[in-house]
Amino acid sequence: MGMPISIHVRGADVDSPTVAQGVEAAFALLREADRLFSTYQRDSEICRIRRGELDPTQADPLVRQVMTLCQEAGELTRGAFTCLLPDVDGVLRFDPAGLVKGWAASRAACRLADLPGFRYCLNAGGDVVVGGTDDEAGGEPGAPWRVGIENPRDRSQIAEVVELQHGAVATSGTAARGAHLYDPARGTFVDRTGSVTVVGPDLMWADVWATALFVGPASLHGLFSEVADGYRVISL
């Protein structure tokens, strides 16, 4: 499935070369992530690791960083979030795509945060990260970005609007791609309706928690409230 990534920048003088360079730097980071992690490019490091041709300890530092983050995410969510997913043959293999999406978008957004006096909104296939300051608003964040959360039971409707000046919004659910979210505790793909949206400071962790809370037991919400400082959940 396609996942276009769009970047909106607001502020005075958005046509400046500085802004264009910042946006290009953001896209460059996304392309780099694609080069390392694409499971469709046979020679990507992730494919070579999956085939056993590349020792993970010898992989690119970014790949090793993602592997560490996958482990942390699994521990933090008591195993509800996992990067070990059944391959087409049913064998569990390392597949960090679920984590890489938010991780890569978050890194790309840092290049936009480097642009002083501009506000940005980056949407990567429904994962949203916003921030920046607006010189025209006296260096304040300015008017918030309005992020619509799709109603998972009626995709033509917006269920809620989140207003955000800095932070991230990530949504997990089956309305997008059917039962593609894996529950490692049961060893099955989750097929229930609805969605979970997490709003918080970091997109990667918002995404991890949105997935974990969607597939995991109801009790995981309790853990989320305790440990995920600054994050909130919207269950639809």
Partner: protein, 136 residues
């Protein structure tokens, strides 16, 4: 305050492969059709912008919006999945609602959407693409 949006076709093409999940109906990649250039003037007269083709599990969806005075006045689905009865059924119900929704949403000033999906996903992405191109 002006705003400008950037979307790169190369990034779409490169990343469509990375972020595809494996599903039993994993299908063709996003079409690489380049975006149609805006026609008409961009002043007070209406300008028409056609979004990039958004791929879905069932086929391509592409949207054209007409902008007059900085507001979207009309959304049309230029092509939509019609390979089988189910496609037409879904497109028949989803697209007309979305046409209205697209216009209403713009007036409700939603900047972006979290959780877009399937046929609506193709449409939504394409609408976002069309909005991006209109530099609204």
């Amino acid at each position: 305050m002006r705003r400008i949006v950037f979307v790169t076709l190369t990034t779409v093409t490169a990343l469509v492969l990375l972020f595809s999940y494996h599903t039993s109906t994993n299908s063709a990649k996003v079409a690489s059709t380049p975006a149609v250039r805006p026609r008409g003037s961009s002043g007070p007269a209406a300008a028409t912008y056609t979004g990039e083709v958004g791929d879905t599990l069932w086929g391509p969806v592409q949207v054209r919006i007409t902008v007059r005075g900085g507001k979207i006045t009309l959304s049309e689905a230029v092509q939509y999945p019609k390979q089988n009865r189910r496609d037409v059924e879904i497109s028949g119900t989803a697209l007309p609602i979305l046409n209205q929704e697209a216009v209403q949403r713009q007036s409700a000033a939603i900047d972006t959407v979290s959780g877009a999906t399937l046929t609506s996903d193709g449409y939504q992405r394409s609408l976002q693409s069309a909005i991006d191109k209109a530099h609204l």
